[in-house]
Amino acid sequence: MHSDDVVWDTLGNRQFCSYKITTKTQNFCRNEYNLTGLCNRSSCPLANSQYATIKEEKGRCYLYMKTIERAAFPRRLWERVLLSKNYEKALEEIDENLIYWPRFIRHKCKQRFTKITQYLIRIRKLTLKRQRKLVPLRRKIERREKRREEKALIAAQLDNAIEKELLERLKQDTYGDIYNFPIHAFDKALQQQDAESESESDAEKEEEDDEDMDKREFVEADDSDLSDFEDMDKLETSSEEEQEEEEEVEKKTSLSRSKGKNPLKGPARRKRPYIEIEYEEETEPTTKTKAT
């Protein structure tokens, strides 16, 4: 059955062709050697014994040709010619190989070759750009991670941890003189002072006053640095400084006990101990303000 017309009549119109795909508006041909991809009398590779296509393999284009002389030898049916990488040269090669072939096939071959080179160029450009890497999710692992996260959240007790940390920082005086709470550490240190021998005379106190002036500045400068380190970077000396501070300030409180108010830290400290400080009003606004 080598007459093309008979083949076309059978396959194309009447009987079943396994390469044919029909849609509402058009028929397509799935044959790998088809030149245009449509199911036509002139583009069917089965119904034309003289046929040519362009196929692309690994980025190189080949011209495939089939002639009626080799119709009896299916193994040698398709002849393959490698086309040059240069676009114009390849077009010339196509012309050269398909000289004296029907105009339709030559034209369509060149069109197909053009399309193929265009998409090859685009592939090369895209690979240079950013590629999106798709990482598949594994359901079991996602579920496990989610569960572990929930349990970790419960174990973390975030609110408590944050509150504890903030209170720690308040105790260690990183906030300076913004908050006027009578820190109970003062009272503790006071009790300590009272419990110790009361032979600690004023002479000692006076000595330490001068030292206090120096120490005070030294300590406060360090404080502002310390406030920015994370927990682990807190040096051990901070606890010593804290004790020194407590001693200083509790002396203040013991001296100005008469007023019944605890003085502010900071600028108040720099003044001489026996001047009474009247910053009463400042304590009230802070207690009145509510968290917004």
């Binding site: 970790a152 944050i162 109970h184």
Partner: protein, 322 residues
């Protein structure tokens, strides 16, 4: 019938060690589902009663003994049972201190650089991600959000360095929710890639406060114990300016628990010297470290300091890396 008979037979030869029970049936052998359920509930109640009785008895004994009572047993938690990690940082370690004085964050901690952050997303971000980026930029002071128009990160990074940015944050998005965070310290600093989960925007947080103000927040970094955790902690610390403004009363927390880093942003107020109230503002999210790479973002040729390898690292339930 037969069972009782055999029991009688066995009981005849004296065998004082063998204690014989009448054949009981277990709850799971009842075929009828309703009855089985009922019997199971009854069994559960009984167990609970017995447990309660045992507890009471133990408490009475403890009170009776008074001072001589043995100390209370500490319950085992995963944190207690955590496998000791040899890279745990000792606060007094000189080697670590020296390393930190000379690593990429030293200029920040020496106050030579001021952090300036660039926040961007992956291609074509959806509304949720965009809103999240905006909220994140209100939380982190001195940060700017830029729309990513399909630009390659490798090209963005030199431009950022030229404009004095110190950090780059890229929020990766998948299926309309943000799910990844890439944090890159810019002048050739390390790049950390995190998986982000449970992202809650401000309107989804219950009982939230007002907007975060422009004050520089404080930072809390909890539980970063190992060497790796330490460097990640420093990375987070370097996002925020050095001097927190305490009048703002805002605090940003990065809390590490079992390798999950929880981020929260609160406003606090001290009600007394022993009580503090906190109120959550700001977005919240959870991070899990996937990889830490030396140098800025380069997924092909970068030198990875740490990658999470599931098969090797997830073998033990009590082993954590941060």
């Amino acid at each position: 019938g037969g069972a009782a008979g055999s029991a009688a037979e066995d009981g005849a030869p004296p065998a004082p060690e063998r204690v014989l029970f009448p054949p009981t049936f277990s709850v799971s052998e009842i075929k009828n589902k309703q009855r089985r359920h009922f019997m199971f509930l009854r069994w559960k109640q009984q167990q609970r009663k017995e447990k309660l009785a045992a507890k009471k008895k133990r408490r009475k004994e403890r009170e009776a003994l008074g001072d001589k009572a043995p100390p209370k047993a500490v319950p085992k938690t995963i944190e207690n049972q955590r496998e000791y990690d040899e890279t745990t940082v000792d606060p007094n370690d000189e080697e670590v201190a020296f390393d930190e004085a000379t690593d990429e964050f030293a200029p920040y901690f020496n106050r030579q650089t001021v952090p300036k952050i660039l926040i961007t997303t992956s291609d074509r971000p959806r509304g949720r991600t965009v809103r999240f980026c905006e909220q994140l930029s209100t939380v982190i002071p001195n940060s700017h959000v830029y729309y990513r128009r399909g630009l390659a990160l490798k090209r963005i990074i030199p431009q950022c360095i030229a404009r004095d940015f110190t950090d780059l944050i890229v929020i990766n998005e998948d299926r309309k929710i943000p799910n990844g965070l890439l944090l890159s310290h810019l002048p050739d600093g390390p790049t950390a890639h995190f998986r982000m989960s449970s992202v809650r925007l401000r309107k989804e947080i219950k009982r939230k406060g007002k907007e975060p103000t422009e004050h520089v927040p404080e930072i809390i970094l909890n539980n970063f114990t190992t060497r790796l955790g330490h460097s990640i902690g420093r990375m987070f610390a370097s996002l925020f300016p050095h001097d927190p403004q305490f009048i703002g009363r805002q605090v940003a927390t990065f809390h590490n628990q079992r390798d999950y880093i929880f981020f929260r942003f609160h406003r606090y107020i001290f009600k007394s010297e022993k009580k503090v109230g906190i109120q959550e503002l700001g977005p919240r999210f959870t991070l899990k470290l996937r990889s830490l790479q030396k140098g800025t973002f380069d997924s092909k040729f970068g030198e990875y300091e740490w990658i999470h390898k599931r098969r090797e690292m997830d073998t033990s339930r009590r082993k954590f890396h941060l």
